[in-house]
C-alpha cells in the first residue's frame, strides 16, 4: 500500500505543469487530491503556486494603453457616416 501510494505521488515537475489546471479548478477530484497532498509537504511547490497566483493578479492589473482622446472626433464622424449607411446584410449574430 505504501509503495503504491508512493508511486501515485506527484513530483514537482508534474505539479509545475498542473498549477494552472488546479487554479482553473479543472483537475479531476483524485488528481486534485494528489496535487494538494504534494503541496502540503513541498514548500517549493507551495511557493511556486503562490508566485503563479501573484503573476495572474499582476497581469490582471495591466490596463490597455490609454486611448488617445484626439480620435474621439474622428469616431464621432465615422459613427454618423456608418449610421447613415444603414445596417449591413449578414453580420455577426448576438
Amino acid at each position: 500500500m505504501n509503495l503504491l501510494r508512493r508511486r501515485e505521488d506527484l513530483v514537482c515537475r508534474q505539479v509545475a505543469e498542473l498549477v494552472n489546471d488546479y487554479l482553473e479548478n479543472v483537475l479531476p477530484r483524485t488528481e486534485r487530491k494528489r496535487f494538494e497532498r504534494h503541496l502540503a509537504g513541498c514548500p517549493n511547490c507551495a511557493a511556486y503556486l503562490e508566485q503563479i497566483r501573484t503573476t495572474i493578479a499582476t497581469i490582471g492589473r495591466l490596463t490597455p494603453d490609454d486611448f488617445n482622446p484626439e480620435v474621439s472626433q474622428e469616431f464621432t464622424e465615422l459613427y454618423r457616416a456608418w449610421r447613415n449607411e444603414g445596417p449591413a446584410l449578414a453580420d455577426e449574430p448576438g
Binding site: E17, V19, N20, D21, I59, P64, F75, T76, G86
Partner: protein, 199 residues
Amino acid sequence: MESDTELLVALRAGDERAFVTLVNRYQGSLLRVARTFVPSDAVAEEVVQDTWMGVVRGINRFEGRSSFKTWLFRILVNRARTSGVREHRHLSVDPTVPAVSPDRFDRSGAWAEPIIPWESDVDDRLLAESWGPALRSAVDTLPGLQREVVLLRDIEGLPAENVCAVLDISEGNQRVLLHRGRTKLRTVLAAELQARGKS
C-alpha cells in the same frame, strides 16, 4: 461609470456620445488583440475600425445572449480573419510539451534549486505599477495564440468558455495556452524581482 448595457441602450437610440464612450473604453484592448493577428499597427487599426463599424451596423441584432465584450471581440476576430491575415487557428497544440524547462528539475523530478517565496509585501498592485512595462512587453512577445488567450482571460477577464468561442479553439487548447503564457510571465516577473534584489 455607465455600464456597457446602459451604453448599448443609448447607442440603440442613436446616442453618438455612447458610441464614443464605448470606443474609449475598448479601443486599447481591441488594438492589442488585433495586433496579434496582423503584421502592423496600421492594419490593426483598420481591423479595429472595421469592428466598430460592425458594432454600429449590427447593434440591433445583438441580442445580449453573450456579454457585449465577448460579442465585440468575436466581431474583431472575425474581421481580422477575413482580412486575410496571419492564420494560426489550426496549429496543433501539443499538451505533452512542458511549460517549465526540464532543467529546473533534478533526476527525481524535484526542483533542482529551491523556490524562494516572493516577499509578502510584494503585492500585485505594486508589481503592476513597478513592472507593468516589463510585463506588458513580455505579454507582447508571447506567441500569437498564447498572447490572445492571456489577453482575453487575464487582462480582459473573459471566462474560459467565451475565450474559446471568440478564438474558436477547444477548451483543452485554451488551458494549455493559458498555462504556457502564465508560466512564461511568472519567469519574467521572477527575473525582474531578482534583478532588482527583491527575490
